[in-house]
C-alpha cells in the first residue's frame, strides 16, 4: 500500500492529465479553424492535412474582395448595438422595479422568449412586418433581437440590484428623492459593473443569433451570421476563405467573453444558478 502523500501526488497528476485532455478536445477544432484560415489555398484542402505551412493573409483579402464582408459586419454591428441599447433602456428600469417591489412577473414574462422556438414569433412577425413594409429594415431586426437582449439584461441585473442594502434607498427617500431619481443617481452607479456584464452578454447573444436575421434581413441589411450561408455556398472549394469568415465572425464575442469570464456563470443561467 502506498503512503498518503504519494497517493495524493498520483491523484493530482491524474487530474492534471484529464484537465489537459479536456483542454485539447475543447481547443483543437478552434485552433484548426484559425490555422486553416491562414493556409494558402492549395494547402487548406491538402490530404493528409498539413500542420506546417507558410501563413498567408490571402484568404482574408479574398473575403473582402469577393464578398461584401465589411458591409455585412457593419450591419451586424448596427443590429447588435441597437438591440443591446434597447435591451438596456427597457431592462435596467424594469430590473430595478422588480428588485424593489419583489413582484417578479414582468421579469418572468420576458423569459418566454427563451422557452418558445424562435419560429413561433417569426411567423407572425413576418406576416406583420411584411404588411407594414418593414422586412429588411434595421428597425425590424433591432426589435426582434431586443427580444433576446431584454431577458439577459433583466436577469443579470436582478441579483445586482438585490444586493444593494435597502437602507441606502430608505435614506434617500427620507431626503425626498423620487424612485426614478434613486435609480439614476444612487442605484445605477452602484451596479455599474453589473450593467457592463449585462451589456456584454446581451451583445454576444445578439451577435450570435441566427434565425431572425435569416428571414427579416434583405441584401442590404444582411448580418454576418445570416450571410454565413453565402460563404458556405461559395466556400465549398474554398475552405480558406470560409474559415477566415468563421474566425472573424467568432472574434468579437470571444474577446468580449474573455473580458467578463469571471462574472459569466450567473448571467448565462439567467438567475437559475448563483455562481
Amino acid at each position: 500500500m502506498m503512503d498518503a502523500p504519494t497517493t495524493d501526488r498520483w491523484i493530482r497528476c491524474l487530474n492534471l492529465l484529464q484537465l489537459v485532455l479536456a483542454g485539447i478536445i475543447i481547443m483543437t477544432p478552434t485552433v484548426w479553424m484559425v490555422l486553416s484560415s491562414f493556409k494558402p489555398s492549395f494547402e487548406v484542402t491538402a490530404y493528409p492535412p498539413t500542420l506546417i505551412f507558410s501563413p498567408t493573409m490571402e484568404n482574408y483579402l479574398q473575403l473582402t474582395r469577393t464578398t461584401p464582408f465589411v458591409s455585412y459586419a457593419v450591419n451586424s454591428l448596427i443590429v447588435t448595438i441597437g438591440s443591446t441599447a434597447l435591451g438596456l433602456l427597457f431592462g435596467v428600469p424594469a430590473a430595478f422595479a422588480v428588485s424593489w417591489t419583489r413582484i417578479s412577473w414582468p421579469a418572468i414574462l420576458t423569459l418566454a422568449a427563451r422557452m418558445a422556438p424562435g419560429t413561433l414569433f417569426l411567423l407572425p412577425w413576418y406576416v406583420m412586418f411584411r404588411q407594414v413594409g418593414m422586412i429588411g429594415s434595421y428597425t425590424a431586426l433591432i426589435l426582434s433581437h431586443a427580444v433576446i437582449t431584454l431577458p439577459i439584461v433583466i436577469w443579470v441585473l436582478l441579483p445586482s440590484f438585490d444586493s444593494i442594502p435597502r437602507s441606502v434607498f430608505e435614506a434617500a427617500q427620507v431626503d425626498g428623492c423620487s424612485v426614478t431619481r434613486i435609480l439614476w443617481r444612487i442605484a445605477l452607479p452602484l451596479v455599474a459593473s453589473g450593467v457592463a456584464v449585462a451589456a456584454i452578454l446581451a451583445f454576444v447573444f445578439s451577435w450570435n443569433y441566427f434565425l431572425f436575421a435569416l428571414v427579416l434581413s434583405n441584401g442590404d441589411t444582411k448580418t454576418l451570421i445570416a450571410a454565413a450561408f453565402n460563404f458556405i455556398g461559395e466556400g465549398s472549394t474554398q475552405w480558406g476563405a470560409l474559415m477566415a469568415a468563421a474566425t472573424l465572425i467568432a472574434l468579437p464575442p470571444l474577446i468580449l467573453a474573455a473580458l467578463v469570464q469571471r462574472w459569466l456563470v450567473s448571467g448565462l443561467t439567467l438567475g437559475a444558478v448563483k455562481g
Binding site: 491523484i11 487530474n15 484529464q18 484537465l19 479536456a22 483542454g23 475543447i26 481547443m27 478552434t30 479553424m33 484542402t45 490530404y47 493528409p48 427597457f90 428600469p93 424594469a94 430595478f96 422595479a97 414574462l109 420576458t110 418566454a112 422568449a113 422557452m115 418558445a116 422556438p117 424562435g118 419560429t119 413561433l120 414569433f121 417569426l122 411567423l123 407572425p124 412577425w125 413576418y126 406576416v127 426589435l143 426582434s144 431586443a146 427580444v147 431584454l150 423620487s178 426614478t180 454576444v204 450570435n208 441566427f210 434565425l211 458556405i232 475552405w239 470560409l242 468563421a246 464575442p253 470571444l254 467573453a257 474573455a258 469570464q261 469571471r262 456563470v265 443561467t269 444558478v273 455562481g275
Partner: protein, 295 residues
C-alpha cells in the same frame, strides 16, 4: 392630513415603479404575447396558393397527425435531444469535477474553456463542416491513421444525428460544466470532512454524497439545455439543412421550411405551437423533478 400625504406619496411611488417596468412589459407583450396569440389564430387558417386566407378549423392539426414528415421530425428531435443531453450531462459533470479539483485556475484557462459556447453556433457548424468533410477532412485522417474506418459523418443518414449531437456537445458541455462547478463550489465542506473521518473512498464519497447533493444543480442544467436542444436549429441549418434526405429534419427545421420555403403559414403555425407545447412539457417535468431532489 399627514396620513393623506403619506398615502399620496405611496401611490405616487407605486405609479413610478410601474412606469419603470412598463416599457419592458409593453415591449414583451407587443413582440411576444400578441404574436403568439396571432400564431394561435394563424394555426386555424389555411392559405391557398394565391395567398387567399380562409378559416380551416382544426384542419392543420388533423394534417399534423397524418403527416409522416411530422412524426419523423418528432423522432429526430427526440433522438437528438436525448443523445445530446446525456452526452453533455455526463461529460459536463466529469469536466466540472476536473475543474473543481484544479484549484486556482488562471483566468485565461477559464476563457478557453468557455470559448466554445461563446462563439456563434453557426461558426461551430462552419468549422466542423470542414473538419468532418468525408473526403478531405482532418477527422477522417485521424481515424485512418489510427487504423479505423473513415466515416461519412454529416453526409451519412445513419450517422448524421450522432454527429450533430457531437458538435452540439463539443459546444455546450463546458456550459453544463460551469453550472455544475457552481453547484460543487456551494456544497458545504463539512459533509466531506465527515466522510473523510468515516474513511469513505473517493468513489463512495462521490456516489453517496456529492452526486445526491448536486442533483438540483444538474436538473437546472438539464432544463436550460432542454430548452435549447428541443428547438435545435442553427447547427443543422448550416451543416445539413435537415439532410441528407430528411435524416436530420428536426421539428424546428421542418416548421421553418414549411413556413418560409413553402409559405404554408397556417400549417407552420400548428407545427410550431406543437413544438412549444413539447418544450413547455419538458420544462414542467424537469421542474417537478427539481422539486423532488431539492434538499
Amino acid at each position: 392630513m399627514s396620513d393623506a400625504a403619506a398615502t399620496m406619496a405611496q401611490g405616487r411611488q407605486r405609479l413610478e415603479l410601474s412606469a419603470l417596468s412598463a416599457p419592458a412589459v409593453i415591449f414583451t407583450v407587443a413582440m411576444i404575447a400578441f404574436p403568439v396569440v396571432y400564431t394561435i389564430w394563424l394555426g386555424f387558417q389555411s392559405f391557398s396558393n394565391t395567398g387567399k386566407q380562409s378559416f380551416a378549423g382544426l384542419a392543420n392539426y388533423s394534417k399534423l397527425i397524418s403527416d409522416n414528415e411530422f412524426w419523423h421530425g418528432l423522432w429526430v428531435t427526440i433522438a437528438l435531444y436525448v443523445l445530446s443531453l446525456v452526452l453533455q450531462l455526463v461529460f459536463g459533470i466529469w469536466l466540472a469535477l476536473i475543474l473543481f479539483h484544479a484549484k486556482r485556475l488562471p483566468g485565461i484557462v477559464r476563457s478557453l474553456f468557455i470559448s466554445p459556447f461563446m462563439m456563434p453556433p453557426v461558426v461551430a457548424g462552419m468549422m466542423w463542416l470542414v473538419i468532418l468533410d468525408p473526403s478531405l477532412g482532418a477527422a477522417n485522417y485521424i481515424l485512418q491513421s489510427l487504423g479505423l474506418p473513415p466515416s461519412e459523418w454529416l453526409a451519412s443518414p445513419t450517422w448524421v444525428i450522432p454527429t450533430v449531437a457531437l458538435i452540439d456537445s463539443w459546444q455546450w458541455t463546458p456550459y453544463v460544466a460551469l453550472i455544475v462547478l457552481g453547484g460543487l463550489q456551494s456544497l458545504p465542506s463539512s459533509v466531506y470532512e465527515a466522510a473523510q473521518i468515516d474513511g469513505a473512498s473517493a468513489f463512495k464519497t462521490f456516489q453517496r454524497i456529492t452526486l445526491p447533493l448536486l442533483l438540483p444543480t444538474i436538473v437546472t442544467a438539464a432544463i436550460l439545455r432542454s430548452v435549447d436542444l428541443l428547438r435545435f436549429f442553427d447547427i443543422i441549418y448550416i451543416t445539413t439543412q435537415g439532410g441528407p434526405g430528411n435524416a436530420s429534419n428536426t421539428l424546428n427545421i421542418y416548421g421553418f421550411r414549411v413556413g418560409f420555403e413553402f409559405f404554408n403559414i397556417g400549417y407552420a403555425s400548428a407545427l410550431m405551437l406543437t413544438l412549444t407545447a413539447i418544450v413547455l412539457g419538458a420544462v414542467l417535468a424537469f421542474n417537478r423533478l427539481r422539486g423532488a431532489v431539492a434538499w
